[in-house]
Symmetry: C2
Subunit: 391 residues, 2 copies
Amino acid sequence: MADLEGPHFLRPLKAPEENPGRVLRLGVERPLVLDSGKQLSPFNIAYMTYGTLNADKSNAILICHALSGDQFVASRQPVTGKPGWWDEVVGPGRIIDTDRFFVICSNVLGGCMGTTGPGEIDRTTCNSYGLDFPLVTIRDMVRAQTMLVDALGIDQLFCVIGGSMGGMQVLQWVASHPERVFAAMPMATGARHSAQNIAFHEVGRQAIMADPSWHGGDYALHGTVPSKGLAVARMAAHITYLSEPALQRKFGRNLQNREALSFGFDADFQIESYLRHQGMTFVDRFDANSYLYMTRAMDYFDLAADYGGVLAEAFRGAKTRFCLVSFTSDWLFPTVENKRIAHALNAAGANVSFVEIVSDRGHDAFLLHEPELYDTIGGFLSAAAAARNLP
Amino acid sequence: MADLEGPHFLRPLKAPEENPGRVLRLGVERPLVLDSGKQLSPFNIAYMTYGTLNADKSNAILICHALSGDQFVASRQPVTGKPGWWDEVVGPGRIIDTDRFFVICSNVLGGCMGTTGPGEIDRTTCNSYGLDFPLVTIRDMVRAQTMLVDALGIDQLFCVIGGSMGGMQVLQWVASHPERVFAAMPMATGARHSAQNIAFHEVGRQAIMADPSWHGGDYALHGTVPSKGLAVARMAAHITYLSEPALQRKFGRNLQNREALSFGFDADFQIESYLRHQGMTFVDRFDANSYLYMTRAMDYFDLAADYGGVLAEAFRGAKTRFCLVSFTSDWLFPTVENKRIAHALNAAGANVSFVEIVSDRGHDAFLLHEPELYDTIGGFLSAAAAARNLP
């Protein structure tokens, strides 16, 4: 297992402008066996760390990113040049204080920011894997993270935290390794993907696959990029991340840089212009096949199914302290789905608190400036740190 | 103005298997002037009638169809071979009793079932209009219907009824011609399209326009059909027609004809298979450009905007009897949007009743077997018929 420092994007979408973090090659001696039965050996995991691991390695916080996130939780994203996606939360003196905690964030398995995924070169064919890359599940993502945490010599994580797909990983961490997670904070998530959620993902996948530039997943081989399909997929998904009231408040029927309707198909309305922008910019920083794999991993997630349909069994015996967070206007992972998790944790006799935050900003609220969320994270970490005898 | 009976599809999607209804050529002497300022002269309107117009022409009910509907409200759809979309409601002895009423339903302007739309041949170029066809608004659709009603010699419609885009037409009918509408029944609709509604439509349009077979709207010229784009558009829209609880109840995470997940991108889940089917079958019966035009007409609809932003002014002085219907699980046109209309009608001193029907079937409930809806329609029509001295 070699620690390959420095830029190591096997197939960068754009030239990274700065160090993309560290990259570990794992699975060399012992392969990563996936839920599909297939194996990865070796594979790379790209990650960032912030702060310093203390002497007894008890202050590590693993942050799990969401579908379109990455390891750049608190540093400039090399492709977009924008601040990290949780820059406001993670850093010295911030809510997740890197003066106190050692923060780890790794690009998920199947991702496109340095961790092995469908865009990587298959050494047997010298081409990108494309759809030959094995399907990965949320549990497989956690398996890869576990190997990273092992490599860092950490037995128990002080906290695992994440929203949306990141929240699914948090739940899976506790289910798979209860003794290795002292505290857990799944936000805006579910223990399963609903029919409506699968439906929206399927629309996005069909949009990508309908793009002739996708070439059955082999677009790297053809030197094309299925930008249009991926942009449409992102546009559809983006609507689900926002709430109807927030869209109405922010955009309403406002026109975009014009006094009157054009009687045509230009972006007359601000909401159209905004969505098109979201689609176009996403294409610059995300890989279409990775998008297929990420959405499929979420669709496949159904934690209770692994425990005879009884979600509480996933958490039986866990001593992990839980804090669940939902947002009132999140219709992708509504409060009721988060409450299902809370009920299961209660049934399993786990230590759980649950906070529903009033916000009209929809699912994306967990990524936005939400003081009540920040207070909740800060309070939970403080109490857990005291219980863990951390300074 | 000639009455061109019999099949008259200028660009049929499939060969119609039976008489597509009557087709009137209108606007010959006096053009139809559209909101865009452009004119149509002449244009065709395809329609169906059921029942018999009484001697004083006081028993006519105009049914306005929704985005993907057509004039075949109560007769076999010639392309699909399926029963009319409201076959259960309209017919002899049914809720809208064609033994009592003379029912008219016309394909909307811009449509693709015989009424002039973007698929029609432009006589100046001998090609399909494509995007050269002028954009039409809900008011333009009503203008065309008004000319049809004139041609049928009907001064006042006994009732105008419709859901979704059809409901928008109902509202526009009363706003434009209050004296010509004795009773009005807009269902599951809004007086404006919301930001979220525009957003979903924009996703659909971008999916169509991203399809290289669309050819800037000139696919007829190229002998292609943008089926994949249109299918994706339909899939995205279809999710918005159903409710999350109904999707969960009907499909949940059930697998489609398999015992286990495939670890691939086939339609593992029933919901995926269902959506793909919805997309594929829609392509057989609907024209992609018409879809663009219909969605744009809905996006542009904002009745209050034509009256200084005060919706009540749209209905000032109207003596029309109103019955509004919404469905509890309709998130496309939620009850709150229907209530906005009710409040405006109250403010205008109009005669209005409002019924919110408990149903988990979402927006599409107005097209489905909903006994409470049927009772509401029947009761409203009976009371209105008594007030109009109809037998």
